[in-house]
């Protein structure tokens, strides 16, 4: 397993805001990493830094290259989809495929056409005539035909209906992902990516506040449903969060002793979205 991204002290300040504040993290190959954070937490800036689209302070190496200086070389091995609406509106399906086929050294035309054949896209169709879902199908067809080592997805399913969203991730998993590839995805629809992620990163105010693989998330965090009689005891264990459901309290614990928790009530693995809400409490306050 090799390191795909190594970031140390990543910092980016705009005129009146700090987008990244000394963020450090490592991403190994063969992982699907969810970079999750509230609006304005620095997700997009982090991705832009990785893609060499913005300047920053700190150290960052992507596939062993410096994205600031070796962007041209880097982009042969990195693909990204930055939400659905970035394909030029004037381009036709045929032109898009021709262009990428002739400018990208790692593009496999047959793969792209095979993928397009499973959609309703026709060669003469222009992007401006397509629905959002069709645009993302075209973009995905182009990207999946590129043998890249890193795929960056920034809110790739924003504004799509549920059929397209499900299909999008299914295609990624079945036809694209393997142990040599790495995917980073940011999204607000956490529930939809939860089951495909291998790693989870929470970002808040430009800092990485949680960086763990999904297995250790399951070991570290636990959710317990506690009756009113034992609520005080649960509170004594200093939970991250507490909420009420049907007269019972649900507590979220970080690193608490399992055996003790079992004694309080039913222990479950928390969902990523509950974990997220608990971790980000007070962000907008």
């Amino acid at each position: 397993m090799s390191t795909v991204i190594a970031a140390t002290g990543l910092t980016k300040r705009y005129k009146n805001a700090t987008a990244l504040d000394g963020a450090s993290f490592r991403i190994e190959s063969g992982r699907i990493v969810g970079l999750i954070g509230p609006n304005g937490a620095g997700k997009t800036t982090a991705l832009k830094a990785i893609l060499g689209l913005t300047d920053f302070q700190g150290e960052l190496s992507v596939l062993g290259l410096d994205p600031r200086k070796q962007r041209g070389k880097l982009m042969e091995q990195v693909c990204f989809i930055a939400d659905v609406a970035v394909l030029p509106r004037w381009i036709r399906v045929r032109e898009a495929v021709d262009f990428v086929a002739n400018t990208h050294p790692r593009f496999d035309r047959r793969k792209c056409e095979a993928f397009l054949a499973r959609t309703r896209l026709t060669p003469g169709l222009r992007v401006k005539q397509m629905s959002k879902g069709m645009i993302v199908q075209l973009h995905l067809a182009l990207v999946m035909a590129i043998d890249a080592r890193l795929l960056v997805l920034d809110e790739p399913t924003l504004g799509l209906d549920i059929l397209y969203r499900k299909q999008f991730y299914q295609n990624l998993l079945e036809d694209y992902f393997d142990e040599d590839k790495t995917i980073i995805v940011t999204t607000h629809q956490v529930e939809e990516v939860e089951h495909i992620l291998t790693d989870l990163m929470f970002i808040r105010d430009g800092k990485i506040v949680l960086d763990a693989d999904m297995d250790s998330v399951g070991e570290r965090f636990a959710e317990v449903m506690v009756g009113a009689d034992k609520a005080a005891a649960a509170r004594a264990l200093r939970p991250l969060d507490e909420r009420q459901v049907f007269g019972k309290s649900i507590f979220l614990f970080d690193g608490a002793d399992r055996a003790v928790l079992e004694g309080l009530g039913e222990v479950r693995r928390p969902s990523v979205s509950d974990l997220f809400v608990a971790t980000m409490k007070g962000t907008y306050a």
């Binding site: 893609l51 689209l53 913005t54 982009m75 990204f80 032109e95 262009f99 990428v100 050294p105």
Partner: protein, 317 residues
């Protein structure tokens, strides 16, 4: 090289309307006006009426054919072919001006920049492909359309005259369509170099502006000029500002083909020989002997370098 070819091709796809259809339609409208003129002339029943109709070059044609000297007939016909290209070139000037103004701005505005930037394309290749599309490909298409229109016009007149029993077909063979085309095509590199300061300036504004690049492109030079004028008015005599407006002209208008002819252009009216002489390749290229030409070209390259740098670091926000 292959990548560059496809980058230019992409520009053509995107701007087919300006690069191809604008010259084709201009030529078509020109021919249509001439045809209307001919029909109007025929309807009025006398030959001179042709010349009175707006947009009709019959007078020019008649003039050319009435020259006693055979070589002069040929020259006159060549001038007619140039005249159609000239009209198309005025359209081309506007097309190229607005093409450069939007070239590095439109894809930032609609965020398709993010798609282009997801491909392994260098920013210098991207910017230079736009320069090539605007100052080599677009003029080439314009020249071809211009000459085809010119030939179409000559044929139209010849056919009209043959109805009147005037055999002019053999006279038409004295025209030099290939020389006209070659002459104009050889002038294209001159155009590209001459236009560099304007190309560079417009692309720089296009890469720089967060909204409405035309404001930067036009208002900034005008505002600076007015400041200079004001200083001069106060008697500061910092420097004369005639040179400044010359420079402004160069920076804003040199994408208009033939603008290197400058004041010499008035001689073009004195006869077909003078006009052709002015347009002759050797003559056109004499502008290269002036220092202003090269100073402009170097300044243009510097502006382009700035545009490439901005293209690298400006993002969609």
């Amino acid at each position: 090289m292959k990548t560059f070819y496809w980058l230019v091709k992409r520009e053509f796809w995107e701007h087919r309307g300006g690069f191809l259809w604008a010259p084709v339609i201009t030529g078509g409208v020109f021919l249509l006006l001439n045809l209307m003129g001919i029909i109007a002339g025929e309807a009025m029943g006398h030959f001179d009426a042709h010349a009175d109709f707006i947009g009709n070059n019959m007078g020019l044609f008649n003039h050319a054919l009435n020259e006693g000297d055979i070589t002069k007939v040929g020259l006159g016909l060549d001038v007619m072919m140039y005249s159609t290209t000239m009209i198309i070139c005025i359209v081309l000037g506007f097309v190229v001006f607005f093409y450069f103004l939007g070239a590095l701005y439109d894809d930032r505005r609609d965020r398709s920049l993010l798609f282009w930037k997801s491909l392994p394309l260098s920013d210098s290749a991207t910017v230079l492909s736009k320069v090539a599309a605007g100052t080599l490909l677009a003029p080439l298409i314009a020249v071809i359309c211009g000459v085809l229109t010119g030939i179409g016009m000559l044929l139209m007149y010849a056919i009209t005259l043959s109805f009147h029993g005037v055999g002019v077909w053999h006279l038409l063979t004295y025209a030099h369509p290939f020389r006209v085309i070659a002459n104009q095509i050889i002038t294209i590199p001159l155009y590209a170099l001459w236009a560099l300061p304007c190309t560079g300036w417009l692309l720089l504004c296009s890469a720089w502006a967060r909204s409405k690049p035309i404001r930067w492109a036009l208002l900034l030079p005008v505002a600076v000029g007015m400041m200079l004028g004001w200083f001069n008015l106060l008697g500061a005599r910092v420097m004369g500002n005639g040179w400044y407006w010359d420079m402004c002209g160069r920076i804003l208008l040199s994408v208009f083909p033939g603008s290197w002819l400058g004041h010499n252009f008035q001689y073009a009216g004195s006869g077909s020989e003078q006009a052709l002489d002015l347009l002759r390749v050797g003559n056109a290229y004499t502008v290269m002997a002036t220092p202003g030409f090269w100073i402009g070209a170097i300044a243009g390259l510097a502006l382009l370098a700035g545009a490439i740098w901005l293209r690298r670091w400006r993002d969609d926000t």
